[in-house]
């Protein structure tokens, strides 16, 4: 599960950085009444917290802090 989360985080980073290069995102169009690129980036940013929350909840007993 954690590996999947890492992959998703990398994809989010790539998706955000590549935003201006993605033709279907960086164009004068509105999605839900907002600029398409703003919605695209907003959704990707929104995904970071749940993905990290999953990483946090699935942390194993090897956590140094917990061993103390």
């Amino acid at each position: 599960m954690t590996l999947v989360c890492y992959v998703v985080l990398v994809l989010i980073a790539v998706g955000l950085l590549a935003s201006p290069l993605l033709g279907f995102v960086n164009r004068p169009a509105l999605w839900f009444g907002l600029p398409s690129i703003m919605v695209w980036m907003g959704v990707l940013v929104l995904l970071i917290t749940p993905v990290l929350a999953i990483v946090e909840t699935t942390r194993g007993p090897d956590d140094e802090e917990e061993r103390r």
């Binding site: 955000l16 201006p20 960086n26 509105l30 009444g33 600029p35 398409s36 703003m38 940013v45 990290l52």
Partner: protein
Amino acid sequence: MSTTLVVTLVGILVIAGVGLLGRRGAITDVSDWAVGGRRFGSWTMWFLQAGEVFTTFTFLGMAGLAFAGGAAALYALPYVPLAYAGLYFLGPVVWRRAREQGHVTQADFLAEHFGSRAFGGLVAVLGVVFLLPYLQLQITGLGLAVQLATGEKASGTLSMVVAFVLVVAFVLWAGIRGVATTSYLKDALMLVVLIVLLAVIPAAVNGGIGPTFESVLAHAPRMLTIHAGEYDAGYFISSTVASTLGVLFLTLPHSWPALLSAGSERAVRRNYAYLPIYSLALAIPMVIGFVALTALPPSTSSNGALLVLAGQVFPSWFVGVVVVATAATAMVPAAGILIGMSTLVARNVVRTTTVRGQTVTNQLSVVGLTALALVLAIVRPDLLANLLLLTYSGLDQLVPALALALFARRWVGLRPILAGLVVGEVVVVVLTFGPYAGTVNEGLVALVPNLVVVALGALLERRRGGPREGTPRADRATESSPRPAGSVARGEPSVD
């Protein structure tokens, strides 16, 4: 005295009062004052670090950038969340080592890793020099907000002086705990004001958010995209990468006290996990900037776009509340910046030998640095403006040193790091003030020769048998027992 100015001054007094109330018992030394005994939980850390994200730039700059560059303003949206996603993993490493070694500043961390207090001093001087214009930016931002809202330059100057005298007072009295308590107030106020602005301004000017963007689509469709020109894709991607690297590797010295004040690794991780979602609030002033695009003449000062719209839509007392929120976004980050700068001076530049000496140096630094920034903001507001251009790009040149210092072992010695840093800073200065006309971020461009020099230096070191300076960190760590929480590092002053 106008209603707006009265509300603003009362708000500034309330913010400072809350900061003064933040103190809890006696503060024993600079470490306690700067990192609060390393006992803060996720909740307090959230507000401390959110306080650093939302500065006057949030209120005035984001709206102004959207007004001037449209969707290009979106570069400011992803870099903090991306960096925090990385800091979810790196933050605990820094926190743990700093706790074990008693580090309080970025320079402590680097000096320890590279085995050179002189290098720590150099990093501290760079940090202070690059942060001074950033501090001044908060002061001038506050003054500009009051001036734009009241239409009187004198009111702006008065507000700057009152606000920053009070900032010095609560920073000296309560340290980082004062910053934490004001952060609660600031973020609550800022969110309420942002939501009201979002709900009212688009509706009052264009009939809603949807009609606002339909108007932009009809009359200025290019502004909905990242297009060719000053704010092209190169600007967007390089600025995002450079800013992400800067935040991720904690190059801004004032980001350290908030991290090091955490009570546990879990608090650090949870904070970095949950903060990205909060960064979405940056989109609100961007929407206001798009409203300005449809309603204000192009000659309008971009930084004043939000306040001009607020003045057209709201009664003067609420404009005062908006200015108070702006003032809070100046005062609270400025307080954090002051703590970051003064601890650098007290611990890494002026090497006092006693706790009392360090405390006095620290207090004098807070007063002196604020006075300098305030006087320059009033008398020569353009003097530090050029230096501000160097702040982020210049601090980005610390990325190789900070990245390598995350490893327990010293893989690269001081000399390659120092050479790379010098080359990087020179390139940044040349690009910033020279004929460079590209849109790729100067700091990112300068990182390339910086990294090349570090890599070549490291190779030379390998050929000569590895880093020569001192013993590798990992070996030294095994030689000494871990320090208890809140203890002090080697070389720290003794109790007077």
